[in-house]
């Protein structure tokens, strides 16, 4: 209970710090929305030349992009430290969190809100509402897809970032972030054979955007269950890798 209260207070403080500069907050959100509009423009331009790419039409890709920007906005904005784990481990900043009550990982994840990416989340919801042909049913599946995508991304980033405990390098964490976001930005059917398999299994990008987008158009209980199972598995793997790493952690304040 005490831990829950501390987590809540930590997150609340992070939000208050993020919105303290009201003008900066609005500016950064606007910048990110403009940035995302350019990506939509990219897809509009691509589909101005082709009707469909391997079964994906412009409307499908818009929904995919809405799921991705909303979920990535939540992950990189509201849970910003999910991408900073290697930095915390290597710089010794993690020390400050070890005395707090309850598990360390939630303290770390909730500690920082990055305004810029909140713009992504707002944009994603707006995009779905404006161009995603919303209905109560579709919106419910959209929300379901976003929640699963958030859990998958956080779990994956935590696992990738926690590799710093073992190899003392920041690069795998960075690469994890780039790869999951990059692969999630395109319909999974664009890729063939082995790559497609990798995107469902190794870097679960297929379940971050393509599967939720397909579920919104055509809900399938088996695919929905598979998405939940993947989210739970990735979250568990992330937590376990972090916990294992934490046992080896001896502070970044190295004397050698």
């Amino acid at each position: 209970m005490a831990a829950l209260q501390v987590w809540w207070m930590t997150w609340r403080t992070a939000w208050l710090a993020a919105v303290a500069n009201r003008r900066g907050f609005v500016t950064q959100i606007t910048i990110m929305i403009v940035n995302d509009v350019v990506w939509v423009l990219f897809w509009v331009l691509v589909f101005s030349r082709v009707d469909e790419i391997r079964g994906w039409r412009l409307g499908d890709v818009i929904v995919l992009f809405a799921v991705l920007t909303t979920s990535a906005g939540v992950v990189l904005g509201a849970l910003h430290n999910s991408r900073q784990i290697a930095d915390y481990v290597l710089s010794g900043k993690l020390d400050a969190l070890l005395n707090l009550p309850g598990p360390t990982l939630p303290h770390l994840l909730l500690r920082r809100v990055e305004t810029l990416f909140i713009g992504d989340a707002i944009f994603g919801v707006l995009l779905f509402v404006l161009l995603g042909d919303p209905s109560p049913g579709r919106f419910a599946v959209f929300a379901f897809g976003v929640v699963c995508a958030v859990v998958i991304q956080v779990g994956f980033l935590v696992a990738a970032g926690s590799s710093a405990f073992f190899i003392r390098q920041q690069e795998p964490g960075e690469m994890g972030l780039h790869s999951i976001l990059l692969f999630s930005s395109y319909p999974v059917d664009v890729f063939g054979g082995a790559t497609k398999f990798l995107l469902y299994v190794v870097v679960p990008a297929g379940f971050v955007s393509s599967v939720p987008a397909r579920l919104i158009d055509d809900f399938d209980l088996r695919w929905a269950a598979a998405t939940v199972a993947v989210a739970a598995t990735v979250a568990l793997v992330g937590r376990q890798v972090f916990q294992l790493g934490l046992r080896r952690y001896t502070s970044g304040s190295s004397w050698v």
Partner: protein
């Protein structure tokens, strides 16, 4: 004791204007800055590996996308075959991905925190030394991406449409990279007046991604927009090497790139001189 003449505002003082000891000539200073940072980058294996891995990822993804798009139209889109598109993307990604992604915010940070003021103590151009340093930092990355990119494009798409254009590609990549570095300095210099560089960074990225043809050939844009985009410096940063790599024998792109380098170089020098003067007028 006679006071040594102070370097002109903007750190553009003439060589030899230091405290007694004659300063090294500007080309030698720039060469030293370039080679030192090139050596430093070449020694950072982790960062080079990350850079290469990211390049392979992006190029593979975009190549697959454009191949699929071309296949849905019978193998050709806006005059590019699937093979040409793969080589186009491989080249634009080489040119753009070799540059550190956070370059504009990094320079902007040095400006807004006034760390850049220390550089005024050097009797050379602040902007020229910074550009030389960054070009040196980028050259090993560009070399690596070129070495990886050519076989990657071959594997993803097949033999280059016209191998002779690969000879033009190499100087075009160096010009594109240098122009990109100078342009990013120009965008970052705006933070002398606006106090932040992030907005300029996002704007620049999008101008290169779409307006410069990094993600798609300019021919995909509506005709009027493509016509304008071709005459902007962003096209010289990405579209030019892409166009050459995709089998178009258009050597005049090298002249266009060199021309833009001169124009943008002059503009950036003026922005830095004006910006540093503005900073000094504001005081501590």
């Amino acid at each position: 004791m006679t006071a040594a003449p102070r370097p002109a505002l903007g750190g553009t003082g003439s060589p030899g204007a230091g405290d007694g000891a004659p300063a090294a000539p500007l080309p030698r200073v720039l060469w030293r800055a370039l080679t030192l940072s090139a050596r430093r980058t070449a020694g950072d294996a982790g960062q080079l590996a990350l850079n290469a891995a990211f390049y392979v990822l992006v190029t593979t993804v975009l190549a697959q996308l454009w191949k699929a798009a071309a296949a849905s139209l019978g193998g050709e889109i806006v005059g590019y075959t699937a093979v040409a598109l793969v080589w186009y993307i491989a080249a634009t990604e080489m040119a753009v991905n070799s540059i550190p992604i956070h370059l504009i915010p990094e320079i902007g940070d040095d400006i807004t925190t006034r760390r850049i003021e220390v550089e005024l103590l050097r009797p050379t151009s602040v902007m020229a030394v910074r550009v030389a340093h960054t070009v040196g930092r980028v050259l090993p990355r560009l070399a690596l991406l070129t070495v990886i990119g050519v076989p990657l494009a071959w594997a993803l798409g097949g033999a280059p449409p016209r191998p002779i254009t690969l000879l033009l590609l190499l100087p075009s990549l160096v010009l594109a990279m240098t122009l990109n570095v100078v342009l990013q300095h120009a965008f970052a210099a705006l933070s002398f007046w606006f106090g932040e560089a992030k907005s300029g960074w996002f704007l620049f990225q999008k101008l290169v991604f779409v307006g410069g043809g990094m993600l798609l050939p300019l021919e995909v844009l509506p005709q009027g927009v493509a016509g304008v985009a071709r005459y902007l410096p962003f096209a010289a940063v990405a579209y030019a090497p892409g166009r050459l790599s995709s089998g178009h024998v258009e050597p005049w792109w090298l002249a266009v790139q060199a021309g833009w380098l001169v124009v943008v170089g002059g503009l950036t020098a003026a922005l830095f001189t004006g910006g540093l003067a503005h900073m000094q007028r504001q005081g501590a």
